[in-house]
């Protein structure tokens, strides 16, 4: 069972499953997502503050707003290509990023040495690199662009929501899922393998949402580095079209996450990341590290 959502609004095609209802009552939404799993893996306590207690964050990391607005800029370029119209100019797109950064309703928390001006400069470098890269040009027909869809990937799990950066059909009929990432540095092969679970989950959602289309046979991460000289690199994972369902490793990861949430297991995982956690002020372990007193430093 699957449903497509648009602009965050769900269009249910079937009555909600018991697991979807359980998810809604626990985390306020009738689905789980890769970002929830990542958040839990990073720190279960942060997950609890964010999704269960729904605590107001003390601030929003500038990298989060920057990443979201960069995605919007990349999507505007892709949309123009698919529609066969002129791409927006780099300056227009930088203006969009700048507006997002300046209109954040929560206080922005900058990294060391960062400012609004430095982020605008970074946006200009990254958008220029992306627009100039042949990897930003895709041929075919758009299916999803900055949209979400949900599917039931396992009877013991709530539906899984995938937030697609881009899903398109190549002229040869193959379906491609592309996720755009901004990164401090280039991705290694190890990083690619670490990240494959997200795209495998997305593939299963696409397979169910688009039963009339061939299952996606190419999964891509388009990585744009935040370095002084921004570099665009495309990392591809080929998957046989006939492959069906999630492999046991990915399914096990989702099941482990969900059973921990249902069991109410939210231990704090103190690390250097507590310093940029917007809930650290509410967390005894995190507060200590955020104030510079903690020993945990596994960076």
């Amino acid at each position: 069972m699957a449903s497509a959502t648009s602009n965050g609004a769900c269009v249910p095609t079937t009555p909600r499953s018991p697991q979807a209802r359980l998810a809604e009552s626990l985390i306020g939404r009738p689905y789980i997502s890769h970002s929830q799993v990542s958040c839990y893996a990073n720190c279960p306590k942060q997950f609890e503050f964010r999704y269960l207690i729904r605590e107001q964050p003390a601030f929003v990391p500038s990298s989060l707003v920057f990443g979201t607005s960069f995605h919007a800029a990349a999507a505007a370029i892709t949309a123009a290509d698919f529609e066969g119209v002129e791409r927006p100019s780099v300056e227009e797109l930088v203006e969009g990023v700048s507006t997002e950064l300046r209109s954040s309703t929560l206080p922005l928390r900058f990294s060391k040495g960062e400012s609004l001006e430095s982020l605008e400069g970074l946006a200009r470098r990254m958008i220029t690199a992306y627009a100039d890269s042949p990897d930003s040009r895709v041929e075919g027909s758009v299916l999803f662009l900055e949209e979400a869809a949900r599917a039931e990937v396992d009877p013991d799990l709530p539906p899984v929501e995938a937030r697609f950066d881009l899903v398109y059909q190549r002229p040869d009929g193959g379906v491609v899922i592309r996720d755009v990432k901004t990164s401090r540095s280039r991705w290694s092969q190890e990083k690619l393998l670490e990240s494959r679970a997200q795209l495998l989950i997305y593939r299963e959602v696409v397979r169910q949402v688009l039963p009339e289309h061939p299952a996606p046979d190419r999964l891509e991460y388009c990585v744009i580095s935040k370095s002084a000289r921004s570099v665009v690199s495309l990392h591809q994972l080929e998957v046989p079209r006939e492959s069906v369902g999630l492999d046991e490793g990915v399914l096990g990861q989702l099941r482990g996450f969900w059973s921990s949430v249902v069991a109410g297991s939210f231990p704090a995982r103190p690390s250097w990341q507590c310093r940029s956690c917007p809930y650290a002020h509410r967390c005894p372990e995190g507060r200590q590290i955020a104030q510079g007193g903690g020993a945990a430093d596994d960076a």
């Binding site: 648009s6 697991q19 209802r21 009552s25 269960l52 207690i53 688009l210 289309h213």
Partner: protein
Amino acid sequence: MPMTLTLSLSKKLTENFNSTALGVTIGAEVEHSVLADPAALQSRIDRLFAECDLAIERKLAAMSGGAAPMSLVGAAEAHTKATTPGVPVAASQLLGYASGASNGNGQAKLSHSRGRPATESQLRALRSIARRLGIDLQQEAYHEFAVASPEDLSITAASQLIDALKERAEAAAARGRTR
């Protein structure tokens, strides 16, 4: 002193003038640290209610042969009471009662779509290409796929229409270049 949180949840399923009601009561010990934190306590209560809800949903689904209920009327109450340390907390208790029998006349009020509807990005692309070509997209959708509006197109139909209109746009551009 340890506290026990006792929650009850009951639900009534109404369909075709028949009703089925189920209730569940669950008790759980609560640590003092949770009681001292209103947000954590609320979170624990939410989780217990969710467990009750899931148990009832499963029971209702089993009773109706696996079909999901059409409508649910829920009522819930929660209260805390003191317990003596060491005394086991009552296990979940499932109280079920049913009235009426299915008359078989019920029809699920679900719409049966002909496929997933076109995505927003597909509709944006269609509108943009149609604008460039100077054609009426609604008429085009009706002519090609017999749907009242572009929003009624399926994902597959929208893909086909995008391809067709793009071909037309490219042909028009090529004609423009040769003139």
